[in-house]
């Protein structure tokens, strides 16, 4: 994500907005007519894979699915470099999802067609960041944004990447987490160096009345050696209808999904709930990225 300037990000978001009626099925498009998009997913990711597939099909493209890793040549010991070399001969664009860090950068060295990183390892998932930014722009605003990110801020790659992207827009950021899952100090240091206003707290109640967007993430049980500690944290960082009574009317709650219990079901029907629409926005964003990368929109 760090490779993109603010102008480039804005251009992707503008393109997604133009394509949104196509994503909703209100308009038809043949932008990817005759193009084959290969989805190479080496680990399960239902939402990302489906939204790429829908995006390609909505634009009139064909989709080639690698299928399960167990049934493919990967199980016969083929390395990723060879897989990429071969699949790039069969398609006009590759979307790669892979469990190892840096795999998309390596794949880019071996492909003969454009390649989109659909999430590699535990660090990068740029299309998620694009869709988060798009959701914020569509449902709230990017300029002068006050955002709180809550949950697992230590290991959560979506929040790390989002912090960097939002710093380009000068957003004011509050990080809400238990001490053991705090935002890495290096990220906080870099943000402050860029004159970004950063606040850290452990309490959602303390900040809920003073933000435009609340970005929730899942706290994973396996991060805690002591299950009692996990239970304590899990119940502390929970968005409920009661909590939202103190929120500004325009507050939007985002979540990359899947959620476990960090957002209670009574929030779903409030005007604050934005996470299902956020999942939909993955379609126009991925349409824009497919069309721009393949070169049918310049």
């Amino acid at each position: 994500m760090k490779d993109f300037s603010r102008e480039e990000i804005d251009y992707v978001l503008d393109t997604a907005e133009k394509l949104e009626p196509v994503a909703r099925g209100e308009k038809r498009s043949r932008l990817l007519d005759g193009k084959i998009v290969s989805l190479l997913f080496f680990e399960p990711s239902t939402r990302t894979r489906l939204s790429f597939e829908v995006a390609a099909r909505r634009l009139g493209g064909q989709v080639l699915n690698l299928g399960s890793v167990e049934a493919s040549s990967v199980m016969k010991g083929e390395n990723l470099a060879d897989t990429i070399r071969v699949i790039s001969k069969y398609s006009d664009l590759i979307v790669l999802r892979h469990p190892l860090d840096g795999s998309a950068r390596m794949a880019a060295e071996f492909t003969s067609v454009p390649l989109i990183n659909g999430g590699d390892g535990s660090i990068n998932h740029p299309t998620q960041t694009f869709l988060d930014l798009y959701t914020i722009r569509r449902e709230s605003h990017l300029e002068g944004l006050k955002i709180a990110m809550a949950g697992d801020l230590k290991y959560g790659r979506t929040v790390h990447s989002l912090c960097h992207a939002l710093s380009l827009y000068g957003a004011e950021m509050t990080f809400v987490s238990p001490p053991e899952l705090r935002m890495p100090s290096e990220i906080v240091r870099v943000l402050r160096k860029q004159n970004i206003r950063v606040k850290e707290t452990e309490s959602l109640e303390e900040i809920i009345g003073d933000i435009d967007v609340l970005y929730m993430t899942r706290v994973q049980k396996e991060r805690f050696p002591d299950p009692v500690e996990y239970e304590k944290v899990k119940n502390k960082l929970k968005v409920t209808g009661d909590l939202l009574k103190a929120a500004a009317p325009g507050l939007k709650v985002l979540h990359p999904l899947p959620r476990v219990n960090e957002i209670s079901p009574d929030v779903d029907e409030t005007p604050h709930a934005c996470y299902f629409e956020q999942a939909f926005y993955g379609v126009p964003i991925r349409m824009a990225l497919l069309a721009l990368t393949i070169g049918v929109i310049e």
Binding site: N79, L80, A81, D101, G102, M106
Partner: protein, 155 residues
């Protein structure tokens, strides 16, 4: 007694002398340069020799002139080393090593989940940055940063 001393720091007729290597790093210098038993030159080295600026290691490669670019990689572990090209027992060229901005296939990424540590047909790639805190290597695949123990992670 004099004979023993001559043996230890004997001059070479032609070749390359890498001097002022950080004490204890001579073997790592050979590793970085890819110099092994298959290398077709006689190599001698001295560890912990007394120099004007404290203890140092020295490596001598007979009959082969290494290029400055080739040797610059050792600046990762020995930033004060010098490269001396010797012809007919005379130093004809002397350079300080310069930290390269990029190294490939020299250091292993410390992130065990980095693609460069898998069985893919690639070399590790790092951009090299120098700051007040010292030298740091930034993996061009996974973005992991190595800022200490560089010598321990040589390939």
């Amino acid at each position: 007694m004099k004979e023993k001393r001559d043996l230890k720091i004997q001059a070479i007729e032609n070749g390359t002398v890498i001097d002022h290597i950080t004490s204890g790093q001579a073997l790592n210098v050979l590793r970085i340069l890819g110099i092994s038993s298959a290398f077709r030159a006689t190599i001698s080295f001295v560890m912990n020799a007394s120099g004007a600026r404290g203890r140092k290691d020295v490596v001598k490669i007979e009959g082969k002139e290494l290029s400055v670019e080739e040797v610059n990689k050792i600046a990762l572990i020995s930033p004060k080393a010098t490269i001396n090209i010797i012809r007919d027992f005379q130093v004809v060229q002397k350079n300080n090593v310069v930290l390269p901005s990029y190294v490939e296939g020299v250091v292993r990424c410390k992130n065990s989940k980095c693609i460069s540590n898998s069985s893919e047909p690639i070399e590790s790639k790092f951009s090299v940055l120098q700051s007040e805190e010292g030298v740091s290597l930034h993996c061009l695949y996974c973005e992991h940063v190595i800022s200490e123990d560089i010598a321990e992670n040589l390939l």
